[in-house]
């Protein structure tokens, strides 16, 4: 059954990759991305993102991005700053808490 929800969610989940510099958001979850991270290893992208602290409820902020397309982007998570390419950022679901000056 496909129908639009009657009331729009206050904070829709979007991929971190759609945010731009200055945007702040709360991590909602990690897509169960089973992409392997290495050659002789079995860690997955999802697991590493969780290990680095991208767990639901954590506030994040995009503090920098390389043009065009924010690839890679620099994401602040607490006291850490991580460089993520679009592909990694797409695995992180967030709810935006503040957009900085521009609507998308």
């Amino acid at each position: 059954m496909t129908r639009q929800p009657k009331t729009l969610q206050m904070l829709p989940e979007v991929a971190l990759s759609t945010l731009r510099k200055g945007d702040q958001a709360i991590v909602a979850g990690i897509r169960d991305n089973l992409e392997s991270l290495g050659d002789e290893v079995h860690s997955t992208l999802a697991q590493r993102l969780l290990e680095l602290g991208f767990i639901p409820g954590e506030p994040i902020e995009v503090v920098g991005s390389i043009w065009p397309g924010a690839d890679p982007m620099a994401v602040r998570l607490g006291r850490s700053l991580f460089a993520l390419r679009q592909r990694e950022a797409a695995a992180v679901l967030v709810t935006r808490s503040r957009a900085n000056g521009h609507e998308r």
Partner: protein, 623 residues
């Protein structure tokens, strides 16, 4: 050592996430009592050190590679996991693990402690950078953390004298545990990872850990440094300043080394009787090793800057800025640091590729490293440019300078092109995420810089002392035997094996404009590229030891070579395949003959093609 004393030695392992100050703490504990080698069979650096406690108990400590987790994503992390678990062949398991935490970023660091705690090993927690944390206004309670974790927690300040005092005291209290075998370990599920993270955050809440707002200046600095335009401008300015400093500051020590080498040669000439031994020592060992040793100052200065930039937290930011550009040819931003080192010498550059987690990315980076114009090419460039390129103003620039810049630029462009081809063909890899941490800025610590620099110098000198020296002796033999027949009218090298090879090469090299003199000079140039300059002097019957050789050689070749030949030789040297030291290091780092052979083949091919095109075009234009 008696059995009792051996038993009284405690084996420690330092574990921590990257950038937690683990290596600084290792330096603090062990000072210069360090041994750097490789783990058996892999090219991961194994750093071990020793120190003695106040009780006289001896400690042997292993500085394991930084790891975010026991579920590895790189070879480094796999080594750390296996070392902790006692799975590494020939590596006894640590008796006590010291987990180093960056006190200014416990949110990232604490999970690893919980993971290690679950293994049930004797574990000590070092709250490192506790001074920075205090100064920046963190609320930090080591006692509360100790109570929550149920583990001994000590504060350390790795960069201050006596900063590891509390840690050593705690280690003195640790019992000598009974011998144990390898531990069993199961990778956690993602749900379990989240659970551990929640537990870490619960603990941080209970102990009242608070992070202050980040300093304004640092926020501002990142806004500039990470900006796609301003950041690149900062990077370019920084690189320019570094190269200026490397070349100008290194000039004096290089002259001194050069003078020392020729003084030693002259002294041996005076002391030893004429004969093969004297020739071997003076022309082979002293001249050969000296011509490589002379680059040590440049390499050290470049490394000093690279180490300082690394410690300051800037280099990962440069990798972030360049990831897009390098991603365009299929490389990772992480390839930036090895390639930067290769401007001094490809040998340390290739060794620095160890930080690239993806094996195919790493191989591609190794293969293009020799295309960065290393400092050994400079004497060749300098000779040819001063002999053939007029000193003329071209707009605001100088023609000679422009040619030199073009040669550097040609190297970088061809490196990118070769990488693009490699990554689309032989080294095609599945996608590998960037996920790079950009650590907080720190002032570089002089003591750590000095220890890091000493380590690099030692590694480089060991190379000079072994591979390169051996090659030099072989090349000396090839250039000296057989001796010239009586009444010969050609220089002695003409009649030697090197001369024979060179004259044979001339058949192949004539189409690209090289005469037999150049062909012969390229043979000893296999040892180190700039040796070709001295060899040209020998071929043209100048004394190679003569300081004025270059200034005399310039006009001589300007008379006897065409401009097309000179330009073709410059083009050849952009690719300059003949550096045996580089090939030997590639063999060592890749543990196979495949990559050094592939490298030599493609470099020869490109050098020949570039010289051919240059020669023919120059001839057609009337050069």
């Amino acid at each position: 050592m008696s059995a009792e004393a051996a038993a009284a030695e405690l084996r420690l392992a330092l574990v921590g996430v990257p950038n937690c100050g683990k290596t600084a703490l290792f330096n603090r504990l062990t000072g210069s009592h360090q041994k750097v080698a490789n783990y058996a069979g892999v090219t991961v650096e194994r750093k071990e050190g020793r120190f003695t406690g106040a009780s006289g108990r001896r400690y042997r400590i292993l500085d394991l590679p930084g790891a975010y987790s026991l579920t590895p994503t790189s070879l480094d992390e796999a080594i750390t996991r296996d070392a902790v678990l006692g799975r590494l062949a020939g590596e006894p398991p640590p008796e006590v693990v010291v987990c180093v935490l960056d006190a200014t970023n416990l949110r990232l660091n604490l999970r690893l402690v919980l993971e290690l705690r679950a293994l049930g090993l004797p574990l000590v927690v070092a709250l490192n950078m506790s001074d920075v944390a205090r100064a920046r206004g963190y609320s930090l309670d080591a006692g509360a953390l100790q109570a929550e974790l149920g583990l001994p927690v000590v504060e350390t300040v790795a960069v201050a004298a006596g900063g590891a005092h509390a840690l050593v005291e705690e280690l003195e209290r640790q019992q000598q545990p009974a011998a144990r075998g390898a531990l069993t370990y199961r990778d956690p599920t993602t749900a379990e990872v989240v659970e551990t993270q929640r537990e870490a955050r619960r603990i941080l809440g209970v102990i009242g850990y608070r992070e202050p707002a980040r300093q304004r200046a640092l926020v501002w600095l990142d806004a500039v440094v990470l900006h796609p335009v301003a950041g690149l401008a900062v990077l370019a300015a920084l690189l320019f300043a570094v190269f200026q400093a490397v070349f100008s500051w290194a000039a004096l020590p290089m002259e001194l080394i050069d003078a020392g080498v020729s003084r030693t040669g002259e002294w041996l000439l005076a002391v030893l009787p004429e004969g093969p031994l004297r020739s071997l020592l003076v022309d082979g060992v002293i001249a050969g090793a000296g011509s490589v040793l002379v680059f040590l100052p440049q390499i050290l200065f470049l490394f000093l800057f690279i180490l300082a930039l690394e410690e300051s937290g800037y280099l990962p930011r440069a990798a972030y800025l360049l990831d897009r550009v390098m991603g365009g040819v299929g490389l990772s931003g992480r390839a930036f640091i090895p390639l930067l080192s290769s401007f001094a010498c490809a040998v340390p550059g290739i060794m620095a590729t160890r930080t690239i987690p993806n094996i195919r990315d790493r191989m591609a980076t190794i293969l293009i490293a020799p295309l960065m114009t290393c400092s050994a090419r400079l004497p060749v460039y300098a000779l040819l440019i001063s002999a053939f390129i007029p000193m003329r103003a071209v707009g605001p620039f100088n023609l000679q300078g422009l040619v030199l810049f073009t040669l550097y630029f040609a190297g970088v462009i061809s490196a990118l092109a070769v990488a693009a081809v490699l990554k689309r063909t032989a080294l095609k890899a599945s996608y590998h995420p960037l996920l790079l941490e950009l650590p907080e800025y720190h002032w570089p610590n002089l003591r750590n810089l000095a220890i890091g620099l000493w380590e690099r110098a030692r590694i480089f000198l060991r190379r000079v002392g072994t591979i390169i020296l051996a090659l030099m002796v072989v090349l000396w033999f090839l250039s000296s035997y057989p001796a010239a027949p009586a009444g010969a009218d050609m220089p002695a090298i003409y009649y030697s094996f090197a001369g024979l090879i060179g004259r044979g090469l001339e058949v192949v090299l004539a189409p690209i404009g090289f005469n037999w003199q150049i062909s012969i000079a390229l043979v000893p140039g296999l040892a180190a590229r700039e040796v070709a300059v001295g060899a040209l002097g020998t071929v043209y019957s100048l004394s190679a030891a003569d300081d004025t050789a270059v200034s005399t050689l310039g006009p001589l070749i300007a008379d006897s070579w065409s401009l097309a030949t000179a330009l073709a030789l410059l083009a050849w040297y952009v690719f300059a395949p003949q550096c045996l030291a580089t090939l030997a290091v590639v063999k060592r780092e890749t543990a196979s003959w495949r990559y050094p052979l592939a490298m030599a083949a493609y470099l020869f091919g490109l050098a020949y093609a570039a010289a051919f095109v240059t020669y023919r075009v120059a001839l057609a234009l009337g050069g």
